[in-house]
């Protein structure tokens, strides 16, 4: 194509093109607006509480929290977890740049506290007592690490109200000596029953480690290499985690369980690559999401923790599983038990 001779002719072509392209863009934007863009964030129905013990999860079709069996009447959450008297919901706020809202609920899904952090929702955990919460977002835009992968993990202590927005500067000991690096990334924090000791993954220099942290002393040390997304068992003796077993980017991980007493590990019967922080449904069973066979989202599966048995499909389209125990203290409107 040779440009038309005169500036006037070229300008006319340009103006026409701008009008056509602008009109087309505007038309599509209006169409998308009419169609109603992405999913909206909704609150839980009044009838939906955590007082009913059972398996709670995120329903992929609606993006809301559900209980089996039952309708997804919970709040809209990208990640969900609950323990003790508290539930934690991570939701992606609309628009750019990516922001995550971490919402703390009580058992009746009353909002107790809301924290907004940058990044995309990734992991959420609540300590067994419900007093200490932690979450991880996948941060974009500050990919100073070579891989362009960066996480930001926060800890919220409800006893003091103290919030650590990013734990990446916690003094870290690797192999017995103090460690410094620009590329440390933490994710998948979860707390033990004492609300102080925690486990997490730290990644640095292309490797991942299991770290044991101390909230009160504000320190962390590595225990073992190649452990991601640790999940402490209810009895506090074992850690379920994903172990990198292959360089194949399509299927890098397997679901393993580590015995904390002797640091011996064994694989579970799940043969697919698991990219999730598994949840203990009871002392012997793990729940986790696997990518759906077809299309978007994932399905919820379970497998025995001791390496026996076979995986079982729990909920098609489910993710973020959590087994909610009966309330430790009765709801406020119930009469107090005699002491």
């Amino acid at each position: 194509m040779t440009p038309p001779a005169t500036v006037k002719a070229r300008s006319t072509v340009l103006v026409l093109a701008v009008l056509v392209l602008l009109g087309g863009s505007l038309g599509y934007v209006l169409h998308a607006r009419e169609r109603g863009g992405g999913p909206r964030l909704v609150a839980a129905e009044a009838s939906f509480t955590l007082n009913e013990p059972g398996l709670y999860y995120r329903d992929g079709a609606t993006g809301r929290v559900a209980r089996t069996p039952g309708a997804p009447d919970g709040p809209s959450c990208a990640r969900f977890y609950a323990a003790g008297e508290r539930a934690l919901c991570l939701r992606a706020l609309p628009g750019t740049p990516a922001r995550t809202q971490a919402v703390v609920y009580d058992r009746a899904f009353t909002e107790l506290r809301t924290v907004t952090v940058p990044g995309i929702p990734n992991r959420a955990r609540v300590s067994p007592s419900g007093q200490v919460l932690s979450w991880t977002t996948f941060a974009v835009g500050d990919s100073y690490a070579a891989s362009g992968f960066s996480t930001r993990t926060s800890i919220l202590d409800l006893r003091t109200g103290y919030l650590v927005k990013s734990i990446e500067e916690i003094p870290l000991t690797v192999g017995g000596s103090r460690y410094h690096a620009a590329d440390v990334n933490y994710w998948g924090v979860n707390f033990a029953a004492d609300d102080n000791r925690f486990y997490a993954t730290v990644a640095t220099g292309g490797r991942t480690h299991l770290v044991e942290g101390d909230l009160g002393a504000w320190s962390a040390r590595t225990l073992r290499e190649n452990v991601e997304c640790p999940s402490l068992s209810p009895d506090g003796t074992r850690i379920a985690f994903k172990k990198k077993v292959s360089e194949d980017p399509a299927a890098p991980w397997r679901l393993y369980v580590l015995d904390l007493a002797d640091l011996r590990e064994h694989p579970t019967a799940e043969s697919h690559s698991v990219d999730d922080q598994a949840a203990w449904l009871d002392d012997a069973t793990l729940g986790y999401a696997l990518p759906a066979r077809e299309g978007k989202g994932g399905d919820l599966w379970s497998v025995p923790a001791d390496g026996s048995g076979a995986p079982r499909l729990l909920v098609p389209g489910g993710s973020s599983p959590v087994a909610v125990a009966p309330a430790a203290v009765p709801p406020a409107d119930a009469p107090a038990p005699p002491r």
């Binding site: 093109a17 392209l21 169609r35 907004t116 996948f138 362009g148 620009a182």
Partner: protein
């Protein structure tokens, strides 16, 4: 287009030799407009892509990282290829650059049509990277061929200022589209596609197909004065038939420019490290973190044209070295006790660094190369600098791990000072006023 009206008319501007327009050539402004529009198009996609892939499609961060990092290394090679292709057959710059712009624009349609298929998305991202790699060197070569050598600094300043404007506007447009459509990512891709097409169209309509024939001869009066002074250039004879293969690194003057740029590049730690040091030192809210690169880009935008004019007046060597001096000053500022003002000072120094080095290096190297080997030569220079910077950033990461941030930064400052001293000796044009 505004530069046509506002630049080059200052009454105190030095008198220009006859025959050289005071205005920035229309082709340069057109190329700037193409870059502006294209950057709006590509930056709006960059702003939403992670959200789309991870939230919209449910990809894991690892898969995202894999897709994102894919072909990043190949871009350097593609750039060399783009330069070569543009030179072959003499002056196919517009065609090659246009193909690159078109490929990137079409890649938005690929994102749209891929739906959730990872393979389709990977292919679309690859096409975008390919387009980006191919077009850079021919475009910069076109700028050097379209502006008089003695006004190249300003020409590149105008181009880079427009380019940066687009990069700043892109995320804003994405924000507006997402706001208007309640997070319909496909609408962002459609608008980006339309914007990208507009860029291609501006290129076809307002950038002439053949390079201006007046300045096709290499500027080399004498080895000691390879950088053009402000003296009028004698109009060169008709260009010789294109040599089939020009090997830019055989040329001692160009080799010295490339060596200096690579040496300085290897002593550059990477902006993200500086932002990280700022954030940690000031305990900056993570919400404010994205504003740091924005601040530096805004300074770059404001200073690109003045720095280019200065380069034309003093010779490009001086601003290029001074710009790296500004980077050194930024390192030293970060080593001093940090305060609120530190952030501002560091961001301004980074802006000065980019304004005084990025386009200025092209203006410095362009006239050294013969017209028929210009795109290929600039591609070699850009690739060499980019690879050296990668090495520098990786080395700084290792130093940080071994010694901690402050000693690492001190080492980087020493390395940059040494590289500056070496570049001062290596870089041609020391005798130029």
């Amino acid at each position: 287009m505004m530069y046509l009206a506002t630049t080059g008319r200052r009454p105190d501007a030095p008198p220009r030799p006859a025959g050289v327009g005071r205005r920035v050539p229309g082709t340069v402004v057109a190329l700037g407009a193409v870059s502006l529009v294209t950057d709006v198009s590509s930056e709006m996609v960059t702003a939403v892509l992670p959200l789309y892939l991870v939230l919209g499609l449910g990809l894991s961060p690892l898969q995202f990282g894999f897709l994102d990092g894919l072909f990043n290394g190949a871009t350097a090679l593609v750039r060399l290829l783009g330069g070569r292709l543009a030179d072959r057959g003499g002056g196919r710059h517009r065609t090659v650059a246009g193909a690159g712009y078109l490929l990137s624009a079409l890649s938005r349609l690929g994102l749209l049509l891929a739906g959730g298929a990872a393979g389709g998305i990977a292919a679309a991202l690859a096409a975008d990277r390919l387009g980006k790699g191919v077009r850079t060197a021919p475009r910069d070569a076109l700028i050097t061929l379209s502006a008089p050598p003695e006004a190249l600094g300003r020409a590149f300043g105008v181009h880079r200022a427009m380019d940066t404007t687009g990069a700043l506007l892109g995320p804003l447009v994405a924000f507006v589209v997402l706001w208007a459509t309640a997070d319909a990512y496909d609408a962002v891709f459609v608008v980006s596609f339309a914007t990208g097409l507009l860029g291609v169209l501006v290129l076809l309509l307002f950038v002439p197909a053949g390079a201006a024939p007046i300045r096709t001869a290499p500027i080399r009066t004498a080895p000691a004065r390879p950088v053009p002074a402000r003296t009028p250039m004698p109009v060169a004879a008709a260009p010789k038939p294109a040599r089939p293969k020009h090997r830019p690194l055989r040329d001692p003057v160009f080799r010295r420019v490339t060596a200096a740029a690579a040496l300085l590049g290897a002593a550059t730690v990477g902006d993200s490290f500086l932002y990280l040091l700022l954030q940690r030192g000031l305990d900056l809210s993570p919400m404010l973190f994205p504003l740091l690169p924005l601040g530096a880009a805004a300074c770059y935008l404001l200073l690109a044209v003045p720095a280019g004019r200065l380069a034309d007046r003093t010779g490009r060597r001086t601003p290029f070295l001074l710009g790296h001096g500004a980077l050194l000053a930024a390192y030293l500022t970060l080593l001093a006790p940090l305060g609120r003002a530190t952030a501002v000072v560091v961001l301004v120094l980074l802006g000065v660094f980019y304004a005084a080095t990025d386009g200025v290096l092209m203006a410095l190297a362009g006239p050294v190369l013969p017209a028929e080997g210009r795109a290929g030569g600039l591609a070699v220079l850009q690739t060499g600098q980019a690879l050296a910077r990668l090495v520098g950033a990786a080395g700084f990461g290792v130093a940080w791990t071994w010694w901690g941030p402050r000693p690492a930064l001190l080492a980087a400052a020493l390395a940059l000072a040494a590289a500056l001293a070496a570049a001062w000796r290596i870089l041609p044009g020391r005798n130029t006023p």
